[in-house]
């Protein structure tokens, strides 16, 4: 993966490598993921949301794309589903694997790879899900194409992410990703849900639905430490979902 040159764009910038390095550093640095609190109110909120959107009485085969250190992966596993986590960052996966081991989740798979070109052997799946990933994809259409191919006919592709205010973007420019990466992320700059809905529609998914998750905004805002609230106030969570046509 690390020696792949396939992600270098036609301006010669390997965005995937920059993104991977950023998250590897984050996994051990100041942005190290906090405790995976999936028992608190925030964890409960995700349990409620996921059980609403995946109303199955039997376990589903789910791929969590951009799983990071595994918050969503563990929440889905706690709901009883069979989950595989996929992430570009080996550093994040290490954090996730240590947590999986601590919890005794032996059959949880955490694999390395990109959202746009996932490794083989992952499908067919009932659901492909991502959380806080769409914004960081330089080529979201390729990712949706790959996810479409991974779910079985009738399966669901689900994304949860947030719209960010101009103000928040200006305040963080260059601090997270370098400016040339931020410049090339189409969904990071979205002001409304049309680009996201269109992304799902363009991939051939049907029954496409988008909606703002104002209640999740309120939960996140109330749960983060007070110094993070100026940031969370400028995030607007949303969901997008669609179904691969049966034929």
């Amino acid at each position: 993966m690390s020696t792949s040159t396939a992600d270098i764009d036609h301006f010669g910038i390997d965005i995937t490598a920059i993104v991977r390095d950023y998250w590897d550093a984050a996994a051990i640095g100041d942005h190290r993921p906090g405790p995976l609190d999936d028992t608190g109110v925030h964890g409960q909120a995700w349990m409620v949301l996921l059980s609403r959107l995946l109303p199955s009485t039997r376990p589903l085969r789910i791929l969590d794309v951009g799983c990071g250190s595994g918050f969503l992966t563990f929440t889905l596993a706690a709901l009883g589903h069979t989950v595989t986590g996929l992430d570009v960052s080996p550093g994040m996966l290490r954090v996730g694997r240590a947590e999986a081991e601590r919890r005794g989740l032996d059959d949880l798979r955490l694999v390395e790879g990109t959202a746009e070109r996932p490794p083989g052997g992952l499908g067919p799946l009932d659901v492909v899900i991502s959380r806080d990933l769409l914004w960081t994809l330089p080529s979201p259409e390729s990712a949706l194409g790959a996810w479409f191919d991974l779910v079985r006919p009738g399966g669901k592709v689900l994304g949860v992410d947030a719209l960010r205010s101009e103000e928040l973007l200006r305040a963080t420019t260059g601090r997270e990703y370098p400016a040339e990466v931020l410049d090339s992320l189409p969904l990071l700059h979205a002001h409304d849900l049309d680009p996201v809905e269109n992304l799902w529609l363009r991939s051939g998914l049907e029954e496409v639905m988008v909606e703002e998750l104002r209640w999740m905004d309120a939960v996140v805002h109330a749960e983060v430490p007070v110094h993070e609230r100026p940031m969370t106030r400028r995030l607007g969570y949303f969901l997008v979902e669609g179904v691969r046509p049966a034929r």
Binding site: A45, G154, K156, E207, E211, E212, W215, A246
Partner: protein, 257 residues
Amino acid sequence: MNTGPLGTAQLQADMAESMQRYWDATAESYAGHDHFEPDDPRRRAWSLLLARMFPPTEPKKILDVGCGSGFVALSLAELGHRVVGLDISPEMLRMCGTAAEVRGLTNLALVRGAAEQPPPDLGPVDAVISRHVLWTLPWPEQAVRAWAALVRPGGRVVAIDSLWSPQLISDMDDRDYPPEVTRFLPLLHARHLNPARNLWRRAGLGRVMAERLAWIDGVLRTRSPAAAATMYQNLSFYFVEGIRPVSPRPDLHRGVI
């Protein structure tokens, strides 16, 4: 019987208990809140709305889910429909029954049960309606699926609810709804109609429509006493409706993923 999704049985049971306790404790004050006298222009507006949705010239069998003290159920019965009112709270049902007696209505039956899990033998009906129920539900998809299952193919599922101003939501406290439930309510916090529309689509209903009831808002804001008028400034009513398809497409949203 747990018909809920995988892994959330305990969370659902805890929240259901909080909600039941709340509604039982609230029955009396709630009935007073929405009680309009027969000649009240606000009651007239609501009745005109319901008559547009369910014309008295075409009498139907209608289930009013979460009927409370009977705001919708009584109006529909007065329009000549055969109505069944369903509510979780025995106290609410008692008040609704009394009001029906006072008005001499014999075409209204009352049943105790939860909005999310209505007794299956209540169907098939021509339509299911609810008013100010959606916002109270942490798992609204489950409820709408259950309502869709109760209407006959070709029948309608209709709900009336309102978008709440952020101010009104932040003013809510445990007298208004249990806080441990309030924070998870998708429709209470919604600012647009998409979340409601999507519930109907996820339930497999067809011809889904949603619209703001600016007309009702206008009547409530201009024809209410000052305190209530201020409250109505912070609410905007809407409805959402859909039809149960005669031949549904196989679809994962309804729990058969």
